[in-house]
């Protein structure tokens, strides 16, 4: 139905942050400046007549309003709207000018009359009255407020409050506890609106043994089992309650070995390659006397679980990869050059500054290492152990990269979410302590190179990154599952909330995107190329068609008690394996040739990969040459006004693709109607479309890209990056390199 549907995206500059889907009162103009609060959110302090710096130093575009600090966010409420009507993704928890406190990295107060400046920490004193507040955010925004007209005392108080609440001493002070306690455990009536974590979602959380069982079946890892010895976190504080181990290792053995490992982290199974090679992660063995013995036992157990009884390859991540401090330092340097240094001054040395930040180098190192591991799994058919001292940082990166490269399921939206859940959340990455950006950036590279192979988009990754700073979601809030359980129990008892059978506070996982975005905005996560691809095969619009097929095959071969059948299954008719075998043979014959430069087999493997046509549902290796990696512009440069390409950027092509994909879906619907399929789904096309940009009613004519598109879409630099003293006229950026010589006389004098 062409006529009835909404054709253009509506863009509102501001939406009330909470519960937009509930019926709200029709009168829109808000008379009083009031902060919009979430359940459990309280106002700590506020100041009136505050000016938010938007554009040029002149301040003509600046907004006047009220600055509010709550226990969740820094909020700015204003009557005025921004100078230009523009697009923004409306966030359900956060308003346009809101910054979650957890996103604030540094609070700087300035008194420009006295020429004073102070970085405010928690519980500190401020001896001067601030005229200006600058918030440096973890997502690279820099936001400035001026207090020229505000009461000096209230200005000071609000600054202190922001400084205090953005650096909570105890994780339980994070707003998530308050929010979840009120929203989901308050009255029975509200419970109805609340989410059932995991229940309505397709993303497995890997917090029960059935999720692991499914993963074992999906990957055909029949020689592996779910181990329950850590229920109640009795063995290891940082491991999940359920994890997967070789079948040949009995619970008794595992308990015995556990004490040898760092933090009692027994080796964890991550994933099985179709060839039967397993990917395992392991922490260092802390007891040197036991080291050889335990290592041997573990290795032989993994070997036994391999259909070919292949050897185990140990990959020492600490030796081969930069450590987390290096990575954090690189990110800080990157931020320095992206948003803090003057755009023009850093322009000349941009490439070498980028290099000296070492960010790209690290990204490349991670990718390259992951490719090495893929090579071991794919070509050498051996199982790989990722060895890292604590097994909680680098191995998260490598194991998830390997799976992204090898397993097409992980490139679907749900598969990817499951991957993050499995390798990061459950394996105990210390989100609370680290909050580094590492993982996303690496994936972005892979995404860049094979756009059609991923169901999700760049926007999705960006938003996922941002969600780390919204302390409501369980996903990125804790260091490990146990910490989450303990904290929530403590909190619940202190607030006398009855948990019932849940045992823990029900934090909504980040995967419930409706917590943050409307359905329509969520469609920005869908990669039209991906959906479209399936459509060309004239199949259903999700990746499930593929995974179903694959898991079915593995089901049949993994019936317990018939291990021989399984072995036959993966050796004989498995086409992927035979194909790889032939690849190895070819490699060997090529290797016999004389070569000027020695090339390692894995280099050869990479080269060979690039000489073949890419099967997007198969193995994907990233291009590792430095010339082919580029910085993630949407994430790192989205707030930089000078770097914004108005009406341009990749999103303009994305728009075209979305429209076309939407149109195809629409046509499919119509065709389906003709098939006499009871005409059920066709009316609701507009709501159910997976695409953000919709086709128009005259499908043959492609609409012009909307005016608001830019390389920063769906974000906007306006008001989000106020470096002191950078902003001139919009054209100032073009004038670099051009000197206007109005007087040629002075010029002549200078040169003579």
């Amino acid at each position: 139905m062409f006529s009835g549907k909404q054709t253009k995206p509506t863009f509102k500059s501001y939406l009330p942050p909470l519960q937009t889907d509930l019926k709200k009162s029709p009168q829109l103009p808000i008379k009083k400046l009031e902060a919009k609060l979430l359940p459990g959110e309280i106002v700590v302090n506020e100041a009136n007549f505050v000016r938010k710096c938007i554009g040029a130093d002149s301040g003509q575009d600046d907004l006047w309003g009220k600055l509010v600090c709550t226990n969740f966010k820094v909020s700015f409420i204003s009557h005025n709207s921004l100078p230009q009507q523009r697009f923004q993704c409306t966030h359900r928890l956060l308003g346009e000018h809101d910054i979650p406190l957890a996103c604030v990295e540094q609070v700087v107060t300035v008194n420009d009359v006295k020429g004073k400046q102070k970085i405010l920490g928690s519980n500190q004193k401020l001896k001067f009255n601030p005229t200006e507040l600058i918030l440096y955010c973890k997502d690279f925004r820099i936001i400035r407020f001026r207090f020229d007209e505000a009461g000096p005392e209230s200005a000071k108080k609000v600054c202190l409050a922001i400084a205090h609440y953005s650096h909570p001493a105890d994780p339980q002070l994070l707003f998530g506890f308050e929010y979840v306690g009120k929203r989901y455990h308050g009255s029975a009536g509200e419970r109805v609106n609340g989410v059932d974590p995991g229940g309505g979602l397709q993303t497995p959380l890997f917090d029960c043994s059935s999720d692991w069982d499914r993963e074992i079946k999906r990957t055909g890892a029949s020689e592996w089992r779910v181990c329950t010895i850590n229920q109640g976190y009795f063995i290891s504080p940082s491991l999940p309650e359920f994890f997967v181990v070789p079948v040949s290792l009995a619970d008794q053995d595992l308990k015995q070995y556990a004490c040898c490992f760092y933090s009692q982290r027994i080796p964890l199974w991550c994933w099985n390659h179709p060839s039967g090679s397993a990917l395992v992660r392991m922490s260092n063995i802390s007891d040197p006397q036991q080291q050889r013995k335990v290592e041997q036992r573990i290795s032989s157990a993994i070997t036994k679980s391999h259909p070919l009884r292949s050897d185990v390859f140990k990959s020492d991540l600490d030796k081969n990869l930069p450590n987390i401090q290096d990575i954090q330092a690189a990110l800080l340097k990157l931020r320095q050059i992206c948003v803090i240094e003057s755009f023009e001054e850093s322009e000349e040395k941009w490439l070498s500054s980028l290099e000296s930040s070492r960010w790209m180098e690290y990204v490349r190192t991670f990718l390259r290492h992951a490719v090495e591991v893929v090579y071991m799994l794919e070509s050498r058919h051996v199982s790989v152990i990722l060895l890292e001292k604590e097994d909680r940082d680098l191995s998260c990166v490598i194991s998830s990269l390997v799976q992204l490269m090898c397993d097409p399921h992980c490139r679907s939206l749900h598969g990817f979410q499951a991957l993050i859940q499995k390798e990061w959340v459950m394996a105990g990455h210390r989100f609370l302590d680290r909050c580094n950006h590492l993982k996303k950036s690496d994936k972005e590279e892979l995404w860049n190179q094979y756009p059609a192979a991923f169901e999700f988009t760049e926007v999705y990754l960006t938003v996922l990154g941002d969600s780390m700073w919204v302390p409501v979601f369980s996903t990125f809030l804790f260091n490990c599952p146990r910490q989450r359980a303990e904290h929530s129990r403590d909190f619940a008892s202190s607030k006398s909330i009855h948990l019932g059978q849940d045992q823990a506070l029900r934090f909504p996982p980040v995967w419930d995107w409706s917590q943050q975005f409307s359905l329509k905005d969520q469609t920005l996560f869908n990669n039209p190329l991906y959906v479209g691809k399936i459509a060309t095969c004239l199949q259903n619009g999700t990746v499930k068609t593929f995974t179903h097929r694959r898991s079915k095959k593995n089901y049949s071969s993994t019936v317990r008690g018939l291990p021989s059948l399984m072995r036959n299954g993966s050796l004989g008719p498995n086409d992927t394996l035979t194909r790889r075998n032939s690849l190895v043979l070819r490699l060997r014959s090529d290797l016999s040739q004389v070569r000027e430069q020695p090339e390692t087999p894995s280099e050869r493997f990479v080269r060979d990969f690039f000489s073949r046509a890419v099967d997007l549902q198969g193995l994907l290796l990233p291009q590792l040459l430095p010339s082919h990696l580029s910085v993630w512009k949407l994430y790192f440069l989205r707030w930089v006004p000078e770097a914004q390409i108005p009406h341009g950027g990749p999103v303009t092509a994305f728009h075209k693709l979305s429209v076309l994909t939407d149109e195809i879906e629409m046509l499919q619907n119509q065709l389906r109607q003709y098939k006499g399929a009871a005409g059920t789904a066709n009316t609701s096309h507009a709501e159910h479309s997976k695409m953000y940009f919709k086709a128009t009613s005259t499908p043959q004519q492609c609409p012009a890209p909307p005016e608001y598109l830019s390389s920063s879409f769906p974000f906007s630099p306006v008001g989000n990056l106020c470096r002191p003293g950078i902003l001139g006229t919009p054209l100032s950026k073009f004038l670099n390199g051009a000197k206007i010589w109005l007087s040629t006389e002075t010029l002549a004098n200078e040169t003579i």
Partner: protein, 639 residues
């Protein structure tokens, strides 16, 4: 492997020569030099191979030279057993085959095909490597330097001066002008339906812009190249300027390249004019006619101050006074504002590209890639050219007329005017319009292609050579990257243009200016590149193109967004995946086809709507058309 990698060019040639001749396959066995007959007829006796003692057992099984079809007019000159020293693999044994147009190599020693297919025009230098007594394997041979970012090395047997003949032949056919021979473009017999020489007609193009009008007139003063021998015959000048004025102005402008109008803004009537530097000299000469003429340009649309963009760094402009040139001083030109754009000269650009080649060929400099790239300054030069063009475009769209010049007005000036027109005028962003733009701003206004590229000329160290046009195409590519939907053509067109910039197969980029082209009868004796391109435009269409006629494009000329064009500069590296078409483009095309298929289906169904037996229709349709229906049923599975 190198088959796919090393020869994007080769694949293209293969496609265009899809009339693969089965008989040709047999010519692999013929080793005799065949100077006249282009293609050997079927040779019955493979054992009659005269050089069979050279050929290994393996090579007898192979089919060298089987897959290349010669162009009409192309003739074989020599073929020879040779070892190609591939920088990525080991040495590859094979056979090289030279025609008056190309060098073709195919390996004979392994299963994986290795081929090279290089127009001789691409070669800038041929050297002998090693001597008859050189030690070491493969130390005796040839080294060929190409204009398209690669070098080739071949090794031959050391006995019997085996390289002498092949060296001489390559040297002769790669540099025909240095040997009193004709460029291949004059020998080619290719025929195409469309005549690409008709793509650009100056009067038609000016008419499109709304000219002449009562501010600007067309003059034929240069119809015999008497006013300026490097300008086209048709020029547009201020309505009030007389022919006599033009002649007087010509005396004050370097090489008589007077300011002429090149682009007209239909709404605000602002114009882009182009010229060469004024002949001010050390003494600071003035010329009343030139000053008055510039005022006429300014007055045409009531611009208050005519902005003069001098593309050079101001130091260079001053230095040019010593050789009689200079810039418009503000004493003499009180109604003008002079802006230097800091773009460096042809020598700087040549050195910059040389440095770039060093870090990308044969291998990409891995350890300090970004700082190495920075030290080539290539992207910085791109940035300056683009930001200069942005300023020009911005000035013009704000209603002020501008004048652009550098020293002679045929290198940096052409870059700036053509790029700013690309930003201002969406017509030039179409496949046709882009051809017109290049014909107008580059070819007709006398960019010295012959000198800058050195077509058919052996003097590889000529200081006149410089990658100015390549730099322009790179800038266009940067714009297409920033605005993926704004251009009707794709990256492939840009690569093909650059390949044929050197190939000498088409007449389009030959010679320095129109007058020389006329005297060589280029239009009648050679084929235009646009004949070739417009005979199959589908290859060059950007499926994402969305026409937006009034949009002025302002790319962001920042190092944050400028990227090295790896698919051009690093295309010979086998470690890089080469795709004939970007996967996104390809997917989009597939989706378009799918949509059309659905639309057709839907139309069919609507036609037979009233008929109850729609299933009958499905059954009666072709098997191909039936497949969508099968799958449509799957669509009902909820997801």
């Amino acid at each position: 492997m190198t088959f796919r990698r090393g020869s994007g060019f080769h694949l293209r040639l293969l496609r265009e020569n899809s009339r693969l001749n089965a008989a040709l396959e047999s010519c692999r066995k013929v080793n005799a030099v065949m100077a006249s007959a282009p293609i050997a007829p079927y040779n019955s006796s493979p054992l009659g191979n005269s050089s069979s003692q050279n050929a290994s057992r393996e090579s007898l099984k192979m089919e060298p030279l089987a897959d290349v079809t010669l162009l009409p007019g192309e003739e074989r000159v020599i073929d020879k057993d040779i070892i190609y020293i591939c920088p990525y693999n080991a040495a590859v044994k094979g056979k090289v085959f030279i025609t008056n147009y190309r060098l073709y190599f195919k390996n004979t020693d392994s299963e994986t095909p290795v081929t090279l297919n290089i127009p001789l025009g691409v070669i800038s230098r041929v050297e002998k490597m090693g001597g008859a007594s050189s030690r070491g394997e493969n130390s005796y041979g040839l080294e060929i330097t190409c204009k398209d970012m690669r070098n080739l090395r071949f090794a031959l047997k050391q006995e019997g001066h085996s390289r002498r003949d092949i060296f001489e032949i390559i040297f002769k056919y790669a540099f025909p002008l240095s040997h009193g021979m004709q460029l291949f473009a004059f020998l080619s017999q290719e025929k195409y339906e469309e005549n690409g020489w008709n793509v650009y007609e100056a009067l038609e193009e000016y008419r499109r812009q709304g000219l002449p009008n009562n501010e600007w007139r067309v003059t034929f003063i240069n119809k015999n190249y008497e006013l300026c021998d490097t300008y086209p015959t048709i020029l547009v000048v201020p309505y009030k300027a007389t022919e006599d004025d033009l002649r007087k102005v010509a005396t004050f402008r370097s090489r008589c390249r007077i300011p002429v109008m090149s682009w007209f803004h239909k709404e605000n009537h602002a114009v882009i004019t182009r010229c060469s530097q004024p002949l001010v000299g050390m003494s600071g000469k003035r010329n009343k006619d030139d000053e008055r003429y510039l005022d006429l340009i300014r007055e045409a649309n009531g611009t208050t101050k005519l902005t003069i963009y001098d593309a050079r760094p101001n130091v260079n402009a001053v230095a040019n006074k010593a050789t009689g040139g200079g810039y418009e001083g503000d004493d003499a030109y009180q109604n003008a504002e002079l802006v230097f754009l800091d773009i460096h000269n042809i020598h700087v650009m040549r050195e910059s590209l040389k440095k770039l080649k060093d870090i990308v060929y044969p291998n990409v400099e891995e350890s300090h890639w970004l700082s190495s790239l920075e030290s080539t300054h290539w992207l910085e030069h791109i940035k300056l050219v683009l930001s200069g063009a942005i300023q020009v475009a911005d000035k013009v769209s704000s209603g002020s007329s501008v004048m652009v010049h550098c020293s002679d007005g045929w290198d940096r000036t052409a870059q700036l005017t053509s790029l700013s027109m690309l930003m201002l005028d969406s017509y030039y962003r179409t496949l046709r319009g882009f051809q017109v733009l290049m014909e107008k701003e580059w070819i007709s206004f006398g960019h010295k292609f012959a000198s800058r590229i050195g077509h058919g000329d052996k003097n590889h160290a000529d200081q006149d050579r410089s990658p100015i046009f390549l730099q322009f195409i790179d800038c266009v590519w940067q714009m297409t990257k920033q605005f993926p939907t704004a251009f009707e053509f794709n990256e492939r067109l840009l690569v093909v243009i650059l390949d044929h910039l050197y190939s000498c197969r088409f007449g389009t980029f030959l010679y320095n200016c129109e007058s020389v082209r006329d005297s060589n009868n280029v239009r009648t004796k050679t084929v235009s590149l646009w004949s070739y391109i417009n005979s199959d435009t589908s290859l060059y269409i950007n499926p994402f193109y969305t026409p937006e006629s009034s949009r002025v494009l302002y790319p962001v000329a920042s190092m944050r967004h400028l990227e090295l064009w790896v698919t051009y500069y690093i295309r010979w590296n086998p470690r890089i995946q080469h795709q004939q078409q970007s996967p996104v483009e390809q997917r989009y095309k597939e989706l378009l086809a799918l949509r059309d298929q659905y639309l057709k289906k839907l139309e069919e169904l609507q036609l037979s709507d009233s008929a109850p037996s729609s299933t009958h229709l499905t059954n009666s349709s072709t098997p191909n058309a039936a497949t969508p229906n099968q799958h449509i049923t799957h669509l009902q599975t909820p997801f």
